[in-house]
Symmetry: none
Subunit: 209 residues, 4 copies
DNA sequence: CATGAATGAGTCTTCATTCAT
DNA sequence: AATGAATGAAGACTCATTCAT
C-alpha cells in the first residue's frame, strides 16, 4: 500500500488468454471482498480463487490497491448503469423504479463500496471515487426534486441538496442493512415503503393505497 | 509452543495512576480510530498517542481486540445515552430533539461503529454489539411511529418496522456523511430538514414555516 | 481479530530450489538445537544459519513448532534406523553391536529429544513422539531379555520390563553425558563397558577378557 | 537473563517476615518448575504462587536466574543429603540403600536438575553446579567400586570411572523416567531391580532370591 | 519492605511485493 | 505469460526488569 514500485507496469493484456486471466482476477477479487470482507482480500486469496499462481497477480495489477481500484470502479459503473431509470412520466413511478433498481442491483456493490470507505481510508484515489459516486446520486436526486418543486409537485420549502443527501442516504443505508440482516426482508415491500416515504417526505402525494 | 500466558491478566487498575493510564489509552485508541480509521489503530500508535510505552498497552488490555471492544462498547453506550430524548408532548418537537442530539453527539461514534462493522467482520462479539445498538434505535423509532399511528397522527398504512429501519437509516447515514464532507454542512439546517422529512414521510404534519 | 490465515499453507516444495531451501532450514534448525539448545532456536537464527531471509521460514513451515516437530521426527527416525542391529547369533555380540550403534549415531539425536522433553512440556504431539521412541527401545530390549531367559542364558528372576527400562536408561543417559563432558571419553571403551555391564547384569556371561 | 543490573543488590532478609517471604518464593519457584516445567517459571507466576506482589520478587532475588540458581542449589543439597548412606557392612545392602534413597528422595529434584540442564544451557554457573553434582555421585560410586575390587568382591577388569558413570546414569535416568510414566511403577520393585542389576553388573553376587 | 504500574527489547508471524526460472 | 520461491518491513504480543509511591 504505497510502497515504491519497481515492477514492470502492467499493460492491457495482449492475448485472449491474458484477458481471461485478468478478468478472472477481478471477478475473484470482487467475490472475496463481497463475501469475506476486507480481511480476506489478499493477493494470495485472489489468485487462488482465480486458479492462477501467486506471481501472476503482478502481471496484471500494479498492486493490491490497483486491483481494488479496478474492482471499485467496476462496482461503481455497475451501480450507476443499473440505476438508470427509464423516462417515466409519473414522478412517483420514477421514484419506485429508481429505488427498486437500486436495491436490486446494488446491494453487494454498495457493500463493496462501503468496505472500501473504511478499509482504504487513506487512499485518496479511492475516496475520490466514492465521493464521485455519491455525488452522482445526490445530483440526480437533487435535480429531480428541483424539477418537482418547479412543477409545483413538491414542497418548495425544502433545500434540494440537503434533501437529496438525506433521502439518498436513507436508500443507501437500507441497501446495505438488508444484506446484513439475518431475517431477510421482503425487498419489494421495502421498495414500496422507501418510495412512499420518499414521496411523502418531499410532499409528493403517493398513490392512494 | 502452547506456552501458558504468564503476563498478569489485566485487571481493573488498582491505583489512581493506573486508572489515568487506562483511560488515556482508551481515549487515544478512540481518537485514532475516529481519525485514521482501522489501519492506523495499532498498539504502537495508541501507546504513543497516550504517551506511555508500548508494553503498557498489555498492562491494561488483553489484546488489540480487547481495547477495540471496550472502545466500541463505550461508543455505543455514549450514543445511546446521548440519544435519550426528554419527554416532550409535541411529537414534532420530539423528532427534532432526537435528531439534533443524534447528529450532535453521535457522528463520530457512529463512524467508529461503522468502521468496526467491516474491519471486524468475523468477530461475533462485536457484530453482536452492533446489532444490539441498531435494534435499540429501530425499536425506539418503531414504538414512536406506532404510537403516532394509534393517535391518528401518522399514516396508518405504513409498516412501523420497515419505516423505522428506513428513517433510522437516513439519520444514521447522514450523521456519518456529515463528518466526511469537505464543505461542512449547516448542522442545524440539516436537523431541520431531517425532522421535516421524517415527519412528512410518516404523515405527521410538520409545523408551518 | 480472527483474521483468516492468508499465507500459503506450506506445501511440499515443488521445485529443486525449494527442496534445497527446505532441507537447509531443517539442517540449520537441528544444528542450532543441538549446539545452542532450546534458547537459541528462533526463526531468525535458523534462517540466518541457512542463509535465507526471515520470511522464507514461513514458506516452508507453518510455525516454529512445525519445524521443531519435523526435526524431532527426523531425529527419532534416525535414531531408530541407526539402531537396527544385524541378526547376530552370539547374544553378547548383539549387545555390543546395539550399544556401539546407539552411541555412535544417537548422541546428538538423543540430546535433541531430551531438549524437547522439557522445552515443549505442554505439547502433546511431541510428548507422544518421545514416548513412542522410548517404548520402541524398551520393547526391543524387553524381548531380547525374554528370549535369553527362555534360552536359559539370562537370570530368570528378573522382570524383563523393569530390566529393559533400567538398562536402556543406562545407555541413553551415557549417550547424552558423553556429549556433555569436557574431557572426551574413549567411546569404544565405553561401548565395551556398557556391554559387559549389561551382559553381567542380566546374568549373561560376558566373554572372558 | 544476563542484562546489566542496576537494582539494589538483594541482601539476606533482615527480619523474620522477610525470611518467610524469601523462603516462600523459593518454595513456590521450585514447585512451579517441578510441576509446570521451564515454561511456567516466571517471576509473575512465582510471586503469585507465593502470594506476594510482583515487585517483591526483586527485593529478594537479583534476577530470575538468581532464584533458579538458589533453587538448584537447594535441590542439589537436598539430593546429596538424602543420598547419604549409613555405613553398612554388607555391600549389597549398601547398594540397595543408596538406590532406595535416591529414588525416594530425588525424583523431583532430579527433574529440576534436568530441566535446568537444557533450559539454561548457556548459564555457566548452573552448568557448573550440575557437573559438580554428577561428579559427586560418580566419585562416590567410583570409590565404592574400587573398594569392592580391592576386597576381591567385584570384577577387577572394570574401569571404576566408566562403570560409575554408566551405572550412575542408569539410576539417574530411571529416577526421572519414573516420574514421567503414566502407569506408575512399583518403586520398591524397581529399587530391587536396580540393585540386583548394579551388583551383578560389577560381579558382586546379589543375595539368592 | 511491599506494591503494582511502567518499560522496551525481543519473539513470532504476516503479507505485499519482487525475482529467478 | 506463468510459476512459485524469496524478501523484509511491519505488526501483535511477551516478559524480565525497573521504579515511583
Amino acid at each position: 500500500m504505497g510502497r515504491a514500485r519497481t515492477n514492470p507496469a502492467p499493460t492491457a493484456p495482449a492475448t485472449a488468454r491474458g484477458r481471461r486471466t485478468h478478468d478472472a482476477l477481478i471477478a475473484a477479487g470482487r467475490e472475496i471482498i463481497e463475501e469475506q470482507g476486507w480481511a480476506g482480500f489478499t493477493p494470495e486469496a485472489v489468485t487462488q480463487a482465480a486458479g492462477v499462481s501467486y506471481g501472476t497477480f503482478y502481471t496484471y495489477f500494479e498492486s493490491k490497491d490497483d486491483l481494488l481500484r479496478k474492482i471499485v470502479k467496476a462496482a461503481a459503473d455497475e451501480m450507476i448503469a443499473a440505476s438508470r431509470v427509464p423516462d417515466l412520466d409519473d414522478p412517483y413511478a420514477r421514484i419506485v423504479e429508481a429505488n427498486r433498481r437500486y436495491l436490486a442491483a446494488t446491494g453487494k456493490a454498495a457493500k463493496v463500496l462501503r468496505m472500501v470507505e473504511h478499509g482504504a481510508y487513506l487512499d485518496d484515489n479511492l475516496r475520490g471515487l466514492l465521493l464521485e459516486i455519491r455525488e452522482f446520486y445526490v445530483r440526480r436526486s437533487e435535480e429531480g426534486i428541483r424539477r418537482l418543486q418547479t412543477a409545483g409537485l413538491a414542497d418548495p420549502g425544502l433545500d434540494p441538496h440537503l434533501t437529496a443527501i438525506a433521502l439518498g442516504g436513507m436508500v443507501e443505508q437500507v441497501a446495505v442493512i438488508i444484506n446484513e440482516l439475518r431475517e431477510p426482508l421482503d425487498t419489494e415491500k421495502m421498495v414500496d415503503h422507501l418510495s412512499r416515504l420518499w414521496a411523502s417526505a418531499i410532499g409528493l402525494r403517493p398513490p392512494v393505497g
